[in-house]
Subunit: 139 residues, 2 copies
Amino acid sequence: MTPQRMAILNYLKGNLEHPSAEDIYKAIGKKFPTMSFATVYNTLETLKQMGQIRELYCDPYKKRFDPNPNPHHHVVCTQCQKIVDLQDEIRIKPPTLTTEKFEILGSHIEFYGICSKCKSKNSSSRKEETIYVKNRTGS
Amino acid sequence: MTPQRMAILNYLKGNLEHPSAEDIYKAIGKKFPTMSFATVYNTLETLKQMGQIRELYCDPYKKRFDPNPNPHHHVVCTQCQKIVDLQDEIRIKPPTLTTEKFEILGSHIEFYGICSKCKSKNSSSRKEETIYVKNRTGS
DNA sequence: TATCATAATTAGAATTATTATCATATTAGA
DNA sequence: TCTAATATGATAATAATTCTAATTATGATA
């Protein structure tokens, strides 16, 4: 356990925003200005291997990281890529694969939609809506 | 409707492999050697807008395309990124969001696991298993 | 405490997938 | 056929991520 790892883990734990590697790099950079991007990626990979965090793929533009490794599901805004945890316990049967034999290890439900912030943005300025759709950074 | 578009659409329809843009480029390239990668991406974007195909994000390394735009779910191999359609009709309740108000537009379930091919690969040559994990191309 | 092996960090280059630009070519409609 | 609109192809640009190699920190042991 190095200071950098502590900082990254601390930042992640208790963060509900499902930050990307860049988010983490920027946030930690304030405390550790010398820290490199590679360390962020290395640490995230290590934490993932250790089962401390989970990597999410529901943001099509970048990987996102979830400090809660326990199985749960997500709601994703298709405009700003905001990801929100779902508390609901959803029970689904394992699939009946007819042609392919898979060893199923887990499942993940993604609900897609528009968050309230984006919805109000849309209605207030319709002309610009393609900007919100195409701009990856969500800014 | 241009010849290139026809070729891409024809290739997609009736393809169960959920190909990536590169897969499509390579496959169509045999018939249209002059076709550019940009055309593949442009066409896929157009077809997506038209609602003819669906873009999948469950492969962490690249976007994958599904010729079936109707709602259905998938099983993904975490080693070779093989994606298989699920025929099962799975009914899930829309989530009860307490803090955030989302307009939910759809949902997608991903089951994760190991396909039979990767499972036999693993047991037959354990020493090389990191190769299969790290090699993105799945080859 | 000094030494050593191991693992972590850094900076930067390299890679991969994807998107943008723009000149040219093609298409579809009058 | 003519023309405007759109598609294509070559290439450059970008963004996220991974790799490399040199340096540095860490922790165990003498």
